[in-house]
Structure formats: structure tokens, C-alpha cells
Symmetry: C2
């Protein structure tokens, strides 16, 4: 796989040439877009590899960790769909996979019996708690050389970007 650094250099050159052909190209913003997508995807790939070693795919992992981090360790498929950006079809499949491995249980909700409750099991919790710590060194290494201010800035800017994206989606919808 190409180093990110090369891809970025290639992009910088490409955008440099593009702006000569397309006069009103917002070069700085386009660059930031591409950086976000490239770096975000690569970051995800690296972690995905660690996850795959545990026979989990990305969505299954996310769903499981999501449940683990809920106050009561449970949620409904609909809610999980929303926060993992999955379709309901896929959520059903994810549920099947996790239930089969004994990491979660699934049953009708007591309050609203048409809801299904997915709940992490004790085995599921153990699994997550064993799975996560080995990922920490990599996560920390990603931000090596980032000062406390750098981290705060990045967090601030990403959250700001997120708000703008929400706004754009809202505009699209209306």
C-alpha cells in the first residue's frame, strides 16, 4: 500500500495543476476534504486489521463496543442502526453473528414488546475488555508528537466540521 505521504504529495500537485485550469476552485477546502477522507480511511484500516484478528468485522465490533458502553449494556436494533450508520437489514445480520458467538443476547423488550433488546453478555464484556487494551498503544502512537493543545485543537475543529456537515444534511433534506 502506498504511503499516505506520497498520496498527499500527489494530491497537492494535482490540486495545484487543477487550480490553473479551474479558476475558482476552492483549493484549500478541497485539500482539507481529501485529507480528512484519506487520513480517516487509513486510520480506520489500521484498526480494522487488529479487529479482524478477532474474527469481527468493523460493524460487529462497533455494535458490540457500543453495547458495552451503554449504561445497562443494552439497546434496540433501531437505535444501534442510527448510531452505527447501518441499515436494519444489516443490523439483523450483525445481531445473528454476535448472538451465535454468545457475545450478546436478543429478546423482546418488556416495555415495548415489538422492540427487540440486544444486550451484551458477561462473555461479551470479557471479550471487549480483553480486545481493547492491545489497541491502545497504536491509538496512542497515532498522536505521538501531538501537544495537549494540538489534541484540543483537532478535537475542536473536527467537532466544528461535524456541525457544518449536519447543517448541510439538514439543508439537503429541506
Amino acid at each position: 500500500m502506498a504511503r499516505l505521504d506520497n498520496c498527499i504529495a500527489m494530491m497537492d500537485e494535482g490540486i495545484g495543476r487543477m487550480r490553473e485550469v479551474i479558476p475558482h476552485l476552492p483549493a484549500e477546502q478541497v485539500t482539507l476534504c481529501r485529507l480528512m477522507v484519506m487520513v480517516g480511511a487509513r486510520l480506520d484500516d489500521g484498526l480494522g486489521e487488529q479487529i479482524r484478528q478477532h474474527q469481527l468485522n468493523h460493524s460487529e465490533f462497533l455494535t458490540l463496543v457500543m453495547l458495552h458502553s451503554r449504561p445497562d449494556g443494552s439497546s434496540t436494533p433501531g437505535e444501534l442502526c442510527e448510531f452505527t450508520s447501518q441499515g436494519s437489514t444489516n443490523m439483523t445480520r450483525i445481531g445473528n453473528a454476535l448472538v451465535k458467538r454468545g457475545l450478546i443476547s436478543r429478546g423482546a423488550s418488556v416495555e415495548d414488546r415489538r422492540c427487540v433488546l440486544m444486550r451484551i453478555t458477561a462473555a461479551g464484556r470479557r471479550f471487549v475488555q480483553k480486545l481493547l487494551p492491545p489497541m491502545f498503544p497504536r491509538v496512542e502512537a497515532m498522536f505521538a508528537g501531538f501537544s495537549a493543545t494540538d489534541r484540543r485543537q483537532l478535537s475542536r475543529l473536527l467537532r466544528k466540521l461535524a456541525r457544518n456537515l449536519d447543517q448541510l444534511d439538514a439543508d439537503d433534506a429541506s
Copy 2:
């Protein structure tokens, strides 16, 4: 689709609870990771929608724009694979699709006759130049409220993160 803002709030709460269970969790870095992935993916989705209106998928678009931004408008499959993070199998398919639409041409290279040269056609250039400008307003809106300093900071931090990720990949390989 859930607003990014909700997802982020949910994540913040989740990580807050997690750190009580897992003592040495690098909460700040994990948060940044998740932010990068979530925001990057959402950003991509929004643009992907605009691209799909032109009967192009993400990779085809990237490949085409890549060619357009090269000095001579041409490249080899291998090179394009590298910079678009595609497998060669897929690159062949992308080439087929773009050739069929007359946006690129494909033929043996003169210098090295085992290389294939993919070159954007005049029609391809027109297509790209008509396709891009409508995307600019969205791209600009994404960074609404970003000061020049904000943009420079974000660029700096993303490039720094990219270098760290390259370093991690290099370490993995060795």
C-alpha cells in the same frame, strides 16, 4: 440518518463510561480516532451522493479526477492503484467502465509495452470540468466559520497524523 452531533454525544458519553471500567484507556486519543473516522466518512458520503448523480461511483470518480490532474492526463493502472488504494482487479474494472463511457482511452505504453496507459479523453476533461464546479459550494460550506488559522491548523494536524500513520504502517511491516 442520525445527525453526526448525536453520534458524537453518544460517543462522548460511552467513552466516559468506558474509562471508569478500563482504567488506562487513552480517552482523548480514542475520541479523536472516532471523530476522524466518523467525520471523514460522513464528509465522503455527502460528496458521494453528488457523484452518484453522474452515474459514477467513488473509485471511478477518483480515478478520473486523478487522471485529469496529471500533467499529461495519463497514468498506468499500477500507479492509479497505488494512489487510489484500489486492487488491480478493481482497477481493471474501473478502466472498463470509464473506457465504455468514452471518458478515458486505454492502450499499450510506448516506452514499456507491458504497461497499459490510461489517458483521459477530451470528453473526459469536459465531463470533469462540468462535474466539479457544482461541488464547490458544498465544499466551501463545510468549512464555514473556519478562520484562515483554523484551516491552516487543521491541515497541519491532519498531515502530522498522516505521518504518524505511515510510521505505524512501516513498523508493522518490519
